[in-house]
Point group: C2
Chain length 181, copies 2
Amino acid sequence: MKKALVILFDKVEEMEAVAPIDILRRARIDVTTASLEDGREVVGRSGIGFLADKKFNEIKGELFDAAILPGGPGIPDVAQHSEVGELLLAHDAAGKIVAAICAAPMILDISGVLRGRKCTAHTSVAADIENCDESKNVVEDGNVITSRGAGTATEFALAVLTRLAGAEAANDVAKSICFVR
Amino acid sequence: MKKALVILFDKVEEMEAVAPIDILRRARIDVTTASLEDGREVVGRSGIGFLADKKFNEIKGELFDAAILPGGPGIPDVAQHSEVGELLLAHDAAGKIVAAICAAPMILDISGVLRGRKCTAHTSVAADIENCDESKNVVEDGNVITSRGAGTATEFALAVLTRLAGAEAANDVAKSICFVR
């Protein structure tokens, strides 16, 4: 069974967190959510409270088939946690999927995962990232998948699922949720 | 300030719950989430745990500008709670927005809110609902708004927001989340 990690934190964009968790679990990917906060509780940018499966420290050092970082106004705080960048770099070095959406591609940039790879991001941060084409909903360059924002979170999650489980599995989930690409 | 209610329950479809909460709160709609379970905790169909603002009993009898019912495999259990249908009927009688997505239009049908109004719903239940056109992502008939599933939840939430705050506010949110209609 393929394994994916979704990193959660205070002021995460809720749709960007929930779409990958939901869509990957629908295809029986083993998704672990991990909180960067002191406890397992996180509160999103729109005040929705989630309980993560684990604390980030508990999964540090583990390798997943995909490491996914949602965006939101909490991203500048995430940038202060160097262990997030280290985890993403370790996944990149191992050829695993590294996926980020909205403002989160900033963390890929800062941590050295991007290294000039093509990407997309939210318009609010796109100008600060090299080779970032904010007109694209989803960009894949090798094992790095990026996306624009909450309104593209479903497409982003389906792109990650396609890489983990194949196009047929992703199309089945897209159909079951009535998503037309 | 406009007020909206999002009803939460075990096995709710998480994207269908989160999209309206997030998108309406982005436009400063006062959103209350209310749990049908014994406590305020609910666990969605994909295992994501939420903490609702209130228990359903605490908001029973209140009128909101919009009452929103997400779908998911928990809907047959919701059908056992007659007070949900009563709340939706009361909102309909008062001319408030009544919105349901995925399997939730079944509850509008059972409770007598639909009464032959045009609607859409998830393909798994559409055949059981009169005047249901499952080819449409969102259908509005008077004050009743329905939608198809998790993959149309953003469009659904923006339709509700358009009715509560106007097209300009909805377009601003759509732009901020990079959603292209």
